[in-house]
């Protein structure tokens, strides 16, 4: 089975949030709590030796996604042909009824909910329609720094190596998130 995933060059990211806004525009998501793609600033150190990095968080489309295991009604599944993790929003019970089990299970907050009562889960779907047409995810094409890539994980490994380390990120050998990094080193 092919597993698709993301590559993120943390050394190039300037924290411009273009990917996050491009994602909202493409998927027509209002400003507010739903962020299929999140950019997190990681600040450490003290003056005059601060450290700053940004982390790209979308859905890492785990090989063994904890959200899918947590879902009481199996609304979250992986697409056989490419490993994209998708949610069936008709099946989803809503976050009030199930108490956000998927969100709580995900270390990276990929499952997202509107503020409305008993909101159904939504999240990054790897721009699967674009992917099916042979196009890149909109975040990848948006990045002014060319810091993102996406595609079959094995191909990404050939291109970028197999590092799964980045500032602000802890790899889970259990869930096997489909993401590779070029980490920003601590100075």
């Amino acid at each position: 089975m092919v597993q698709v995933g993301f590559y993120f060059d943390q050394t190039r990211c300037t924290g411009c949030y273009t990917c996050a806004v491009a994602c909202k525009d493409w998927n027509d998501i209002a400003a507010g709590p739903v962020n299929w793609l999140r950019v997190r600033a990681i600040e450490a150190g003290s003056f005059p030796n601060p450290f700053l990095a940004y982390l790209f968080l979308a859905c890492y489309h785990c090989a063994d996604p904890p959200c899918a295991r947590a879902c009481p009604v199996s609304a979250i599944t992986k697409i056989d042909s490419n490993g994209i993790v998708v949610v069936d929003r008709d099946k989803c019970l809503g976050n009030k009824q199930c108490r956000s089990l998927c969100r709580n299970a995900c270390p990276w907050d990929a499952p997202q909910f509107e503020r409305e009562e008993n909101a159904r889960m939504q999240k990054c779907d790897f721009c699967r329609e674009r992917f099916d047409r042979g196009e890149q995810a909109v975040c990848v094409e948006s990045c002014p720094m060319h810091a993102l890539d996406a595609g079959p994980l094995e191909q990404l490994k050939l291109k970028y190596g197999d590092s799964v380390e980045a500032a602000g990120f802890s790899y889970s050998a259990r869930f096997k998130p489909s993401v590779l990094f070029k980490a920003k080193p601590r100075n």
Partner: protein, 736 residues
């Protein structure tokens, strides 16, 4: 394969004053923009940032101004009623005629800015209409760059001092001085070139009071420096270079003039104070050894690029920083060679201003003598006429007029392409000035803090609703065609169409005759040798010009000086400027000097207001544009940056609501407690919209409530020179 057969993709672009010009591709379905993409074509790509990607929200914002409005409440209150275009333009025309007849044309002030930067749709259309009406009063002194421009003219006689960005890869050392292109863009793609330079192993150093996104991403070393003292460090670097005999003597002899006089200043021959690294340490707070080693490294590494950003020149003696920056490449020979950089104004490829046609001169300015503190003998810099008002002094000029020594008694403001009140220093003084005027008309897309002071507000369309051509912001080799994507929304019109209708009502010459938008754009494109086919540009939306080699400013002057003099009065690089010497003023020294100034770190006022305020650019806004667009605004909260130690001394925790204040006003916003700014300095990014409570405390966090409406001697707008204090908001007030 298209995703949807009913979607049309229209190439257009983004053209506000962010520092970039980027490709946008609008997806149109059933007459509505549903998505936006960017450049996915050949390299280099001009990919839009979050500002362009959030533009759909701006076009369809429910807050767009839909109809012409007439004020019904007090100025600034924001109460208006809908009127027809006819009624609105009749009112504007009648007031213009009345004021012209009663006070003369100089009483009409044009307050314009870089709000729209298309080659056709910009504030120039209003200026042309006002010229046809008999003239008007306008400003000089561009907030962004006036200090850098003054110094560039004084040293090199031109603003064309830059190399195209791909040349960064030819450097062996890049010093980014007060330069933050990750946020200020400085031509689309600049940050990506910096990433490639870093990945090539080129050493990059950042000098800045803040650990900016640019410094954090690209620099191997961050040197924090006190605001307003950059000139002292640059001068000390020159001292180290010449006293250690690291300067390029043959270059200096061949291409420059006045080196001896600068050396005298550096060595203290005039006043007994040698400008050593130790001297600069006490001023800049940068350790002497850091200064000396950077100087040695810059002199020993060839080629090296010192890129002097414009921000440190937005200070009370801003020109001296830019002049001092220009001196380092001049004494080390990093000019006119690949991988070097002359500093200066930094324009490279000349696509931009060449496409702006010259127009008839302003009758109000005809025959007026030049300002005696201007570089009037040089061409290509700031217009030196003495009847313009410095942009920092507009409010003072309105309030005091001719009696206060200004060239006009202003009675009416015509404001377009500019959120004037929000974006000029000392906002509270601005309110008093605007309230004193007899008539104000504002062209706007939203009810900005400025529009609230208008008598008539005219709704303008966005660049998605008209066609235009955009040339790069600073100097890269490409053009963008902005195809009109949708019809103008509601009753909005372009500035051009508004001025055409108003010209008819005024009975003056038609603006650009009867030419259509397409004819005007075609004519401008055809006037350029590098735009080979207008229709192809229009169809493709972008024209990327293939250069045989990078643009290297002054290459010809260095290779063949006999036949290619520098465009200065001496035909050489002017380390010493006779033009400045003739001004005979300590504020205009003929060589670069560090001059202590008001509201600097050493001003006695610092006892009361101990923190130096920066008002930097925000990554989610283009100045004040996009403040009200939630996709952009939610990315990072507007906050005052304050160092951990300064915050702790005031019991301020990250996220606490604080007041930043001085004698000019008070703003309230959250604190961002961080090690990314040096102690003693705070930063409120400019552009957040002024939003006062009943006590006049600005809850919007507009930086210009705190800035000073003064100018530097050479015209720099001192947006980064102000002293403030910060305190926690008392709990009782916070609850309100």
């Amino acid at each position: 394969m298209p995703e949807d057969n009913n979607v049309t993709i229209i190439p257009t672009g983004c053209c506000h004053d962010c520092g970039g010009r980027c490709v946008l591709k609008a997806h149109l379905k059933d007459g509505r923009i549903i998505r936006i993409e960017t450049d996915s074509g050949e390299e280099p790509q001009y990919r839009a940032c979050l500002r362009g990607r959030s533009y759909r929200q701006r076009v369809y914002s429910p807050d767009r101004l839909k109809y012409p409005l007439r004020r019904t409440g007090e100025r600034g209150e924001g109460r208006f009623e809908r009127v027809s275009w006819d009624e609105a333009l009749d009112t504007v025309a009648a007031e213009m005629v009345r004021i012209k007849e009663k006070y003369g044309n100089p009483a009409i002030f044009l307050g314009s800015g870089g709000g729209n930067q298309g080659l056709l749709h910009n504030a120039d259309v209003i200026a042309r209409m006002l010229v046809n009406f008999g003239g008007f009063t306008r400003t000089w002194g561009v907030a962004s760059h006036e200090g850098a421009l003054f110094a560039s003219m004084a040293t090199y006689g031109t603003m064309h001092t830059g190399n195209s960005r791909e040349d960064l890869l030819n450097s062996r050392l890049i010093i980014m001085w007060g330069w933050n292109p990750a946020v200020t863009i400085q031509d689309s793609g600049t940050s990506f070139w910096l990433a490639q330079a870093k990945e090539k192993g080129i050493r990059i150093v950042a000098v800045d009071p803040r650990y900016t996104d640019t410094a954090a991403t690209f620099a191997g070393q961050w040197i924090p420096i006190r605001p307003g003292t950059d000139a002292a460090m640059l001068i000390a670097m020159a001292h180290v270079i010449i006293t250690e005999n690291l300067h390029n003597q043959s270059f200096i002899e061949k291409y420059t003039t006045g080196f001896d006089k600068y050396r005298d200043y550096l060595l203290g021959a005039e006043d007994g104070i040698p400008r050593t690294a130790q001297w600069a340490e006490s001023i800049t707070s940068v350790p002497a050894e850091t200064i000396a080693s950077l100087a040695r490294e810059y002199a020993a590494t060839s080629p090296a690029a010192l890129i002097s950003g414009w921000g440190p020149a937005r200070t009370a003696m801003g020109e001296q920083y830019s002049r001092a920056a220009n001196m380092l490449p001049a004494i080390t020979g990093n000019i006119g060679i690949p991988g070097g950089f002359a500093a200066g104004f930094m324009r490279a490829y000349t696509s931009r201003q060449r496409m702006m046609p010259g127009g008839p001169s302003n009758p109000v300015e005809r025959g007026a003598p030049p300002r005696d503190d201007s570089l009037y003998k040089l061409r290509g810099g700031t217009n030196p006429t003495s009847v313009r008002i410095h942009s920092s002094k507009v409010y003072d000029a309105i309030l005091r007029g001719r009696a206060g020594g200004y060239p006009a008694d202003i009675k009416m403001a015509y404001i377009a392409c500019c959120n004037f009140l929000n974006q000029h220093p000392n906002l509270n003084r601005g309110i008093a000035a605007l309230k004193s005027l007899e008539f104000i008309v504002v062209h706007e897309q939203f009810m900005t803090p400025t529009a609230k002071f208008a008598d008539i507000v005219l709704p303008v369309n966005t660049f998605m609703e008209r066609s235009d051509i955009a040339a790069p912001w600073l100097g890269s080799p490409y053009y963008i065609y902005l195809n009109r994507v949708i019809d103008s929304l509601y009753e909005s019109k372009s500035d051009l169409d508004i001025c055409r209708e108003l010209s008819r009502k005024l009975g003056i010459l038609p603006l650009y005759g009867d030419s259509t938008e397409d004819e005007l754009l075609r004519a401008r494109a055809n006037a350029r040798y590098d735009v080979t086919d207008y229709d192809t540009l229009k169809k493709d939306g972008v024209l990327k010009i293939k250069l045989p080699e990078p643009v290297i400013s002054f290459k010809k002057q260095i290779e063949d000086p006999e036949n290619n003099p520098f465009p200065t009065l001496s035909h050489k690089i002017e380390i010493y400027s006779e033009h400045l010497a003739e001004m005979n003023s300590p504020l205009f020294p003929p060589v670069a000097k560090y001059i202590s100034h008001w509201e600097g770190y050493d001003d006695p006022l610092a006892e009361k207001y101990p923190l130096q305020l920066l008002t930097t650019h925000d990554k989610a806004r283009t100045h004040s544009i996009l403040h009200n667009i939630s996709w952009a605004e939610e990315t990072e909260a507007h906050a005052v940056w304050i160092n951990t130690a300064d915050a702790s001394a005031r019991n301020i925790a990250d996220g606490d609501l604080v007041d930043v204040y001085n004698g000019r006003g008070r703003i309230r916003l959250p604190a961002r407690v961080t090690a990314r700014i040096m102690p003693g300095v705070v930063d409120v990014s400019e552009g957040a919209w002024y939003n006062p409570d009943e006590n006049g405390v600005d809850l919007g966090g507009c930086a210009n409530v705190l800035t000073n409406d003064e100018q530097s001697p050479g015209g720099a707008v001192p947006m980064n020179t102000a002293l403030v204090q910060v305190e926690l908001v008392p709990a009782t007030q916070e609850a309100d």
